[in-house]
């Protein structure tokens, strides 16, 4: 990473409480995400890492704290969150493709309706992306006709059709059969190499080690430790991270 880092997302003291504070999914998270950076968030289940990721585009409404995207606090009352969500692509654990639409329609729906792209233009872009992930021949198929790995690759390019500034990945390989994990990670690696800003919640430590610019370790709703993969995996400072790594590596 270069030194003149440009902040894309700035999260300040983010909290998410349930049941009037009885459950604290996020308990004061402060972090900055820079342009072009690949950040991988790891941590045990229930550590708040998914909640944190889903808060970034307000799929989860934080109890308090602020999230700035390009310098604008998107948690504000009068912010049009839908406009900001267009800049943040999201990939889900369970793909969430639209089952009643063809792959092509899945990909062109948002660009034509929201970016007001012409259907032909949106389709051209979609087909380019499809051939980049090796699925050009599946454009007219329905999601139910695809394998899990193919569905997730489609989900990634569907998000890319909106030409987002940042991509959020919420455990993108957790619902996949082991032999399909590789093909999805490959697409993500390619995306990272192209300079896309990515925030990835995952259990794939190999991916974190290889692709991440920075790894964030969360537990109990807070960030315990963060740093470059080499530091996190080879020289963990906190006991909790050491325990966690002992279990997963």
């Amino acid at each position: 990473m270069n030194d003149n880092k440009e902040v894309l997302i700035k999260v300040t003291n983010l909290k998410k409480h349930y049941n009037n504070g009885a459950v604290k999914a996020l308990d004061g998270v402060t972090a900055e995400i820079y342009k072009g950076e690949v950040v991988v968030i790891i941590g045990p289940s229930g550590s708040g890492k998914s909640t944190f990721l889903r808060s970034l585009n307000l799929l989860e409404l934080p109890t308090s704290g602020t999230i700035e995207l390009d310098g604008i606090d998107i948690t504000g009352k009068h912010v049009n969150i839908n406009k900001h969500r267009q800049k943040m692509g999201m990939v889900f654990q369970h793909f969430n493709l639209f089952p009643n639409m063809t792959i092509l329609r899945n990909m062109t729906l948002a660009p034509t309706k929201l970016l007001k792209k012409k259907p032909a233009e949106a389709e051209k872009h979609a087909r380019e992306l499809l051939s980049r992930v090796g699925l050009a021949d599946r454009a007219d198929a329905y999601p139910s006709q695809l394998s899990g790995g193919q569905k997730q690759r489609i989900a990634i390019v569907r998000a890319l059709c909106m030409e987002p500034e940042v991509m959020l990945f919420d455990e993108p390989t957790s619902a996949l059969d082991p032999e399909m994990v590789g093909e999805v990670l490959d697409v993500m690696k390619e995306l990272a190499a192209e300079g896309m800003t990515m925030i990835v919640v995952t259990h794939e430590m190999g991916f974190a080690r290889e692709v991440a610019d920075r790894v964030i370790f969360m537990d109990g709703g807070v960030i315990i430790e963060q740093g470059i993969p080499e530091e996190i995996f080879n020289h963990p400072k906190s006991e909790r991270l050491q325990n966690f790594l002992a279990k997963v590596l």
């Binding site: 799929l59 839908n82 999201m90 369970h94 639209f98 009643n100 729906l109 139910s144």
Partner: protein, 251 residues
């Protein structure tokens, strides 16, 4: 035994006579035709009113349920408006589904629209209002049965709630609820047979009126029953065809 056999024999012997007596004499078939026309008119109009009311109520109820957290957070005008609308919708559903349709029909005819004597129009409205409550629950069930991930996928692409509903959720809901909706209209068709309570000559009343004047119950009542049966069979076939087609596009 002999008496029974005699009756049966007499009955078949006189089939032609009964037919002429009940339908041909004094143009009685015209009463049946009027009844047929009214039953179909009431059913179709009620189905349309029911769908409109149903979609409106289902939209209000599920919008409230799905956005409760966001609405409550902002506590603005929208929150209070949605709370009131939701309360009204809820009350509507409770009252309509908690009382028999005959009672509703009598109340509409003798109390609410006491000044109007247009029974057919009042029956259309009553059955529409009644059906709307059931259609609403069918639609709401359909909306709630769509995986939340579909909403989240819509939001994450930048669609607002109504765009997500319109482009992503509703098309899936329609597909899922179409068979149930058609079943509701089969039930509606049969329910309109109580329209005679407010002096509407529907097919049931037409048959009964003829029976009353000819004192020959067999022909008119069986004709009425056959009419409903044929209509229901046709609609059931439509339901089955639609279901099969929907399943095909899923594959």
């Amino acid at each position: 035994m002999e008496q029974l056999l005699y009756n049966i024999e007499l009955f078949f012997y006189d089939l032609k006579g009964q037919f002429i007596l009940n339908f041909i004499e004094k143009d009685r078939y015209k009463t049946m035709l009027t009844g047929l026309e009214n039953t179909l008119k009431i059913t179709i109009a009620a189905a349309i009113i029911g769908i409109l009311i149903g979609i409106l109520l289902a939209t209000i109820r599920s919008t409230y349920d799905k956005n409760y957290e966001t609405l409550k957070r902002h506590k603005g005008l929208k929150y209070y408006l949605m709370s009131i609308l939701n309360f009204v919708a809820q009350t509507y559903l409770t009252i309509i589904r908690g009382t028999p349709v005959v009672v509703q029909l009598l109340i509409f005819f003798f109390i609410i629209f006491a000044s109007s004597k247009n029974g057919v129009a009042i029956a259309m409205l009553t059955f529409g209002v009644n059906s709307g409550a059931y259609v609403a629950e069918i639609f709401r069930g359909g909306i709630m049965s769509i995986d939340n991930g579909q909403f989240e996928a819509g939001y994450s692409l930048g669609f607002n709630y109504f765009q997500t509903m319109l482009y992503i959720i509703i098309p899936q809901v329609l597909k899922n609820v179409l068979p149930m909706l058609l079943n509701e209209f089969i039930a509606l068709l049969k329910e309109t047979s109580v329209a005679g309570y407010v002096a509407v000559t529907d097919i049931t009343r037409a048959g009964n009126v003829i029976r009353g004047t000819t004192f020959s119950p067999f022909m008119p009542l069986i004709a009425v029953a056959l009419f409903y049966l044929v209509m229901v069979l046709i609609l059931t076939r439509v339901v089955r065809k639609v279901e099969r087609r929907l399943r095909k596009s899923e594959r």
